[in-house]
Symmetry: none
Subunit: 277 residues, 2 copies
């Protein structure tokens, strides 16, 4: 049983101060292994007794008992240095390595200037249309969610209603198309239709040979690793998030008011659970 589990076990019964202590402990595990009551109290901005109460609430006799338990845990790991680097066995390590390099590659592909170029059409656009295939749905959703929070008029287009939704698109709008590997016919068609209407198109795909890369000049190519039987959505999601950051950066302080209003709305409608952090 880890310290995380032990905290979670009583998580709901913790008072605000104890919750703060828990967070502090989770942020820096060394505090608990090496630190004293005073150290912890200072870091969590509370008093000594609250630390002790925290320890007892976790089911220990006192702080000494708690610290002893934690130390026993790290002492066990300390004894066998070989255990520390236990590599995941089997082919799994390939999947993990692939994911790492994929993220790495995506980050270097989407460097500052590329990102700027891709984000540019989205900043001044009246509306932003988002198109996506199946494996890239997560990326499209991320872009929708992120962009919606910092600007109006963002629409995710479902494959079932291309005609209805796209009919009002104009050259003052912009579109982002995600499409990977098995290019969705409907997605490609919709992208072509938008281009015909004069809408600037940003396409995020996985090959220069993609049907979407050839019909626009704002595009990027991401490397998509296979994870298990299917392709990973991570590069698409990462690209979407970086795009949001870029657009947010360009819009600057204008978005602060917007976010504040969103915050107030959430509070009023009690969207969130009470004990948030």
């Amino acid at each position: 049983m880890s310290i995380q589990e032990r905290i979670a076990a009583v998580g709901i019964r913790l008072t605000p101060t104890e919750r703060r202590i828990a967070q502090t402990v989770l942020d820096d595990p060394t505090l608990l292994t090496f630190g004293t009551v005073a150290d912890l109290a200072k870091q969590a901005k509370t008093s000594h007794p609250s630390i002790v109460r925290f320890a007892t609430k976790l089911g220990f006799e006192g702080y000494t008992d708690l610290q002893g338990w934690v130390r026993q845990g790290v002492a066990d790991q300390l004894g066998t240095p070989g255990q520390r680097i236990r590599r995941p066995h089997g082919m799994e390590s390939n999947v993990r390595a692939d994911i790492q390099t994929s993220i790495d590659s995506t980050l270097s592909t989407l460097d500052s200037s590329t990102l700027q170029r891709l984000a540019k059409p989205l900043i001044g656009a009246e509306r932003v249309w988002i198109l996506s295939g199946e494996t890239s749905r997560a990326g499209a959703y991320t872009l929708l969610s992120g962009l919606s929070m910092i600007r109006d008029g963002v629409q995710l287009i479902d494959q079932h209603n291309f005609g209805r939704d796209l009919s009002g698109a104009t050259a003052r709008d912009a579109a982002v198309a995600f499409d990977f590997a098995r290019y969705r016919r409907s997605c490609v068609c919709a992208a072509r239709a938008l281009l015909d209407l004069g809408v600037p198109l940003v396409s995020i795909t996985d090959s220069p040979l993609s049907p979407l890369a050839s019909i626009t000049d704002s595009w990027c190519v991401l490397k998509v690793p296979g994870v298990g039987p299917f392709d990973s959505s991570l590069p698409a999601v990462l690209a979407a998030e970086l795009l949001v950051v870029e657009v947010a950066g360009e819009l600057g302080p204008k978005i602060h008011d917007r976010i504040d209003r969103l915050e107030q709305l959430w509070n009023k409608t009690e969207t969130f659970h009470r004990h948030s952090r």
Copy 2:
């Protein structure tokens, strides 16, 4: 420089008792990291001052100094790789580095055994319900998409129709809940409702303090980096994909037929663009 090297450096100049202390320290490194002067003295069958003299002869101010140095050494190895990278840079907010370490941390959190534990309820379940908050929507979609391809009865629950959709859930089903940071009230409520119905719940969250961690025993905690104004969805998506891989692996060759059939269906309905790759 390790403690062994430091002892060796002054090895020749050590007195008999100091030599005994050194041997004791080398036999059990735990004594130095956690023990007090009294503990060490007892173990080495000597007196308190000899311990202090031993510390000073090694070039430290006193025992406190020596122990602090040793603890710093193990603390460096103790923290996660992500924490280690972040240490020297201080509070620097580098989005790209944060993303890298976040992926890194997620991969190490979801090791083979943890993944197995989390995936287990999803394998035999009659139906799988997926709940999600806002920032984790992308992860929920990824799980829906991936799981749907390898098994039947996967449902993504929208916050607007919890009641209608969940009413038929039974103890033979399973549920996966994504919820991060600002815990969605509706998501927490739905999770509780499912638990009341006896449905096994797997929760993927960002803190042991999450309301979802405390009410189930299949859960994991992911580190979510801030990307721009909002939190990243990458850890959730990655977790979802790894879960799919795990479930797919457990189901084994059964899923091959299923995928083949899916393939044929796609071809017949011409879902994809002709020039694929």
